[in-house]
Symmetry: C2
Subunit: 278 residues, 2 copies
């Protein structure tokens, strides 16, 4: 049942049920096709919903147990167009998690326009066919930590609004703009603008020694295939993370999320005298 | 059907079926209790099985499609006690993956004894209640990359032989010894031996500036709770990874796997003149 505001507080203690149609609609948002059509995505978990509320981004719907809702101020709840009060069993039907928390929310997708020249003024991450939602989520989280504001993904990368990506990014999506765009075109523009393109390649120079920059593109490749052959010629700065093991079996690469974290960290360490914020 | 060697090659083209009892036994190894009793664990995926074969660790059983088996030399197959030839449908019944590959293998668990004094001669990682299998797996993978040979986990950490840990570690388990031990006791011994204990804490000094070492314990905490209160007094070197963002919402921490990768990377970067191997 959708409660029209401002009568929520009075109704919180009533026995109410969410309609089947509504459950079906919310769970359908787990599909990319539906998210694209409806321009909505789901966030889940008490902490994440609280972070989104605190950040003041528009929220379309909160679906939560009464105890969660009663912990949020009435003034805030009044600004939310739709509130669904549910039981644990109902939440379990809707949730993408094995063990649901107390709340989830439906958030409007805000399409942002990619202004290449603006993006090129700072460090920007380009993800070439990153497929694993967990990796995409942790890369967004690491980018946010290291103050990187823009990530441009190849169109075949995993959807940023996939619930598993959102879960792994832990709210960092509030701080990072994600775009989907043809990377060949992007890198070609970068070449024209003399923007450095840093790519991790086996034959690269150690990221510890290589001169890094406060602007440029950090290009990261697919989990098993690495950077696409057609994008490699655009790399102007070939870097690599040195392996400190002589073992012959079991370790031929680092996970792309870990490689991203280490590379971002190195960029920030080297430039910290320039733009460190705290 | 279990094929007795060396008749495998002749029988590869016969129509054979794995018994229900066998399927039940293999899938039961997804449970920690059964793994502990049987002293066996599962690895899955063509690449991982090939790596285990190449590394020459003992393999109890290979369960694979005929095309996988015919790509492995007969001499090697002759050393494997049990080989199960299965169809895709049969593999799907046994697999822990949504889309199974062509092979899995059953590996004997080799209990290794923890020799504290030996372990203390190099960098060692201590994991305090790391729960997520993906995190545990990527930490093992990063440790292997950076030449860290030993990881000591609190008994309440996730089981290293959990199929998801094995999947995320991508064979790195071949290079890292994992122990489960009481961390309070371990850290107390470290104190007695004057072994430094590095712990990531919010009030720590930047890992970029802090003096690191080629030996000592790197202590990493639980995904949401961090390092246990009772272990904090043992930390002799408080370090942290600086945040390069001024954002107020969405980024209060890095994922423990990412933090591990960055910290390991910093230790190796600073000590590379001493023990870099390639």
């Amino acid at each position: 049942m959708v409660l029209p505001n401002p009568v929520i507080k009075k109704k919180l203690n009533l026995s109410i049920m969410i309609s089947k149609k509504r459950v079906k609609f919310i769970t359908s948002l787990q599909k990319k096709k539906v998210r694209d059509e409806e321009k909505l995505f789901i966030i889940e978990g008490d902490k994440l919903v609280r972070e989104f509320i605190a950040s003041k981004v528009p929220i379309q719907t909160i679906v939560a147990k009464p105890e969660f809702l009663s912990s949020i101020s009435g003034d805030i709840l009044n600004t939310i167009p739709e509130i669904e009060v549910v039981s644990y069993e109902e939440l379990k039907q809707i949730s993408t998690l094995k063990t649901p928390h107390n709340a989830l929310a439906i958030i409007p997708i805000q399409d942002k326009e990619l202004h290449i020249k603006e993006v090129f003024r700072e460090l920007v991450v380009a993800l070439d066919f990153v497929q694993d939602p967990g990796n995409m989520g942790t890369i967004i989280r690491a980018a946010a930590w290291f103050g990187i504001k823009n990530i441009i993904c190849s169109p075949d990368s995993v959807d940023v609004y996939n619930p598993k990506v959102i879960q792994a990014s832990m709210g960092a999506i509030l701080n990072v703009n994600i775009f989907y765009s043809d990377l060949k075109e992007l890198l070609s523009t970068a070449t024209g603008e003399e923007i450095p393109v840093f790519g991790t390649l086996l034959e690269g120079e150690s990221v510890y020694n290589h001169k890094l920059d406060t602007k440029g593109i950090i290009l990261l490749g697919n989990e098993s295939k690495g950077i696409s052959t057609e994008l490699i010629p655009y790399i102007t700065e070939k870097i690599m993370i040195p392996k400190f093991s002589s073992a012959k079996h079991g370790i031929d690469s680092l996970n792309v999320g870990m490689a991203a974290a280490i590379v971002f960290s190195e960029f920030c360490r080297k430039s910290k005298s320039i733009h460190r914020l705290e």
